[in-house]
Amino acid sequence: MKKFVLSLLVVFAGFTLTAQSLDIPEVTIKDINGKQVSSSSIEADGKPVVISFWATWCKPCVRELTAIDESYIDWQDETGVKVIAISIDDTRNSAKVAPFVNGRNWEYEVYIDENSDLRRMMGVNNIPHTFLFDGNGKLVYQHNGYAQGDEDLLYEMIQKLARGETLEAH
């Protein structure tokens, strides 16, 4: 009986606590230290996830991530959102990504897509390109380009997702 209840609990725990991968193609990218990882290892722990494609030389991208950085701690406290910054810097600049990110004290999870493989599979043309996933890993919104103030609109959507609401089609 105990074993049965235990296994039942495990099954329930599995349903509720299983970290699911995001609804993105499985492509090999590198973490900020240059180690190869699969994009399917990026998890949504029941909280909204933002994936932002950027590069160290892309000014609007850096503006967007800097603007989000100013409020990121508040965003995380309120909604648990995770921002994943995937750099498409190629070998010319990929070694600079770690000092760039750390030098600016950014708290994001950063990956490097050195030959744009994930970018290509996700249909991204120009950057910055931002994707928003709900707690189940489902893609609910994407946006190309950055105008100052866009991060506030993004945050409104993140708040809605965190409250369990669905977003209107965009």
Binding site: Q20, K59, T91, R92, K96, D117, Q142
Partner: protein
């Protein structure tokens, strides 16, 4: 005379079927569903871009005669489609050039399906048949990649197998022909790559991570020269490492290539060697990177007589900073495949809020210095034809050459002054070897002239402000001022438009999330030739909705240089209106 156009290329039957399949499935697709009951039709993603330009004649900037297109309106576009279902993927790309816009490689003519592939990914095995992009290590030995904005695309058409037999060991094999605009290269490329994550393979933990990698690539191209005994198979090997330990990271790659006489190297049978090294230190609020590089005879193409954007197998990364502000970007650096050595240092420091230099909101400062010069060369006597062809020259690994190619010292200060005002201030001091970087003149010719190449020295000051008007409305301004000092011959002044002091003003008004309006002017007030002291005004409007973006511009654009790796393309000055539409789905 009207160009005698052939009819639109009919895509082969197989591709038509592929498109039909995608259309049928795409028409009834749904996103991944978490419920087990909904049927899985897979997922379709893609993007589309169109660029059109309407040109006006403008004799003041040289936009007339053959610098002015007969067609008056030039347009090009592409569409990518990718379909994923379970372990299976496929995709196509359609490209269209009717005709290419000015500055784009003119080898793109007409239209057709240029990219199609099928891929199967499961349990550590990844097989692709058709077109693919791939990079081994840093790309110094092999890199198939695309830069759509420049018109660069050297992808492979063939087969690629990736396999991870055990955790920590990643193997790749490629075999194929490269894309050459709308055709294929005559040469065949095959390669193998292995990357070993020693921590995972040998099971040790700890904070230090060790990664090793090795690659072998060889190409085959038939030869029939009446003058040379050309090698038909040319092989290259590379080894790389990466060590990360806490705040430090070191990486490097060494490449060796056997005799590969080509148009790029003047048909010498010399071996090629290259070395890149990076060291970085990063911690909270501070980042430092040091890069060193030496390249000797590393042009590596699958066709020995190709040049410019055509079929390079490898990618030689420039170790200089890529500038995006318009005036410093007038002097871009491109790697010299014949040989160069140099290093780069970049330091990023964030002064925290409340600290003395940080001020109320914090300040970020970035210092960057890079330099590139020729490698040391000792030439053989002009009568020693055998060594001239076999070796070309003698060199020494530890000695730099006498010719300075490029030097760049710059810094950027980013500071938020108050709730509504952010400021960036930058200074760029660039030394630019015009003969080497703009004209492709060889070291031998420069040395024969007494090593007095045409040089341009520039100082540029940049002030960028970002002003918040309301939570949605922002104003962004850029003021750039460039002082140049040209140590050049009268010939160069006669030829080139990009000479003399200039000033630029940009004002951009944005209303999130949809609108951008911008107006800019570059005034070349200091050009030595009075007739070329021109204004280059440009107005642009951008409308963005979701993932679709419309951009229209009108005005004059300066002549410029687009560079990719060791290749630069001169873009003539233009006057007219452009429209760009991009979307994702």
């Amino acid at each position: 005379m009207a160009r005698p156009w052939k009819l639109t290329k009919q895509p082969p039957a197989l591709v038509k079927k592929l498109l039909l399949i995608i259309a049928v499935i795409g028409g009834s697709y749904s996103l991944w569903s978490q419920e087990e009951t909904a049927p899985d039709y897979g997922e379709l993603t893609g993007n589309f871009q169109f660029d059109g330009y309407f040109y006006q004649e403008d004799s003041a900037i040289g936009a007339f005669g053959s610098n002015y297109p007969d067609e008056k309106f030039l347009g090009q576009g592409f569409m990518n489609l990718n379909y994923t279902r379970g372990n299976f993927r496929m995709g196509v790309r359609y490209e269209n050039y009717q005709n290419v816009i000015q500055g784009f490689p003119t080898e793109y003519q007409g239209e057709g399906i240029t990219y199609r592939y099928a891929q199967f990914v499961k349990d550590g095995l990844d097989i692709t048949a058709g077109n693919f992009y791939e990079q081994f290590g840093s790309g110094m030995i092999l890199r198939g990649y695309e830069e759509r904005g420049l018109g660069f695309d050297n992808m492979f058409d063939g087969v690629r197998v990736k396999y991870e037999p055990i955790k920590g060991l990643a193997l790749k094999g490629v075999l194929g022909r490269q894309r050459k605009f709308f055709e294929k290269s005559n040469g065949l490329v095959r390669g193998l790559d292995g990357e070993f994550n020693l921590n995972e393979l040998m099971g040790f933990g700890g904070n230090t991570q060790y990664i090793l990698g090795g690659s072998f690539v060889s190409k085959y191209e038939a030869a029939n020269s009446p003058i040379y005994n050309l090698p038909e198979n040319v092989g290259a090997g590379a080894g790389r490492f990466q060590i990360n330990s806490g705040k430090f990271s070191f990486s490097g790659e060494y490449m060796y290539k056997v005799n590969d006489p080509s148009f790029d190297n003047g048909y010498i049978f010399r071996k090629g060697e290259g070395l890149i090294f990076n060291g970085t230190y990063s911690t909270r609020g501070f980042g430092l990177i040091v890069q060193a590089k030496r390249i000797d005879n590393l042009s590596f193409r699958s066709e020995r007589d190709a040049s410019f954007f055509a079929v390079p197998i490898n990618f030689l990364p420039p170790t200089t900073k890529f500038h995006t502000y318009a005036l410093p970007a007038l002097f871009p650096y491109a790697t010299q495949p014949r040989g160069e050595m140099g290093f780069q240092v970049e330091l990023t420091k964030n002064f925290k809020r409340g600290s003395f230099l940080g001020g109320k909101y914090g300040t970020t400062v970035v210092f960057n210095y890079s330099v590139a010069s020729s490698i040391y060369k000792e030439y053989y006597d002009a009568t020693d034809t055998l060594n001239l062809v076999k070796e070309g020259y003698k060199t020494d690994w530890f000695k730099a050459g006498d010719i300075l190619y490029f030097q760049d010292f710059n810094f950027l200060v980013k500071k938020k002054l108050n709730r509504n005002l952010k400021m960036n201030f930058g200074y760029y001091n660039i030394t630019y070897n015009y003969d080497v970087l703009n004209k492709g003149i060889s070291d031998e010719d420069i040395v024969a002239k007494g090593n007095k190449p045409n040089m341009i020295y520039s100082h540029t000051f940049v002030l960028e402000n970002q002003i918040k008007l309301t939570s949605r409305k922002y104003l962004r301004t850029e003021l750039q001022w460039q002082l140049t000092d040209e140590d050049v011959s009268q010939e160069v002044i006669n030829d080139d438009f990009n000479m003399g002091d200039r000033v630029m003003l940009l004002i951009e008004y944005s209303v999130a999330p949809n609108w951008f309006f911008a107006i800019q002017d570059i005034y070349n007030y200091g050009h030595p030739d009075v007739a070329k002291r021109l204004n280059y005004p440009l107005a642009s409007v951008v409308y963005q909705v979701g993932t679709t973006r419309f951009q229209a511009t009108y005005g004059r654009q300066q002549a410029g240089i687009f560079c990719v790796g060791g290749v630069c393309r001169l873009v003539p000055a233009t006057n007219g209106a452009s429209l760009t539409i991009t979307t994702n789905f």
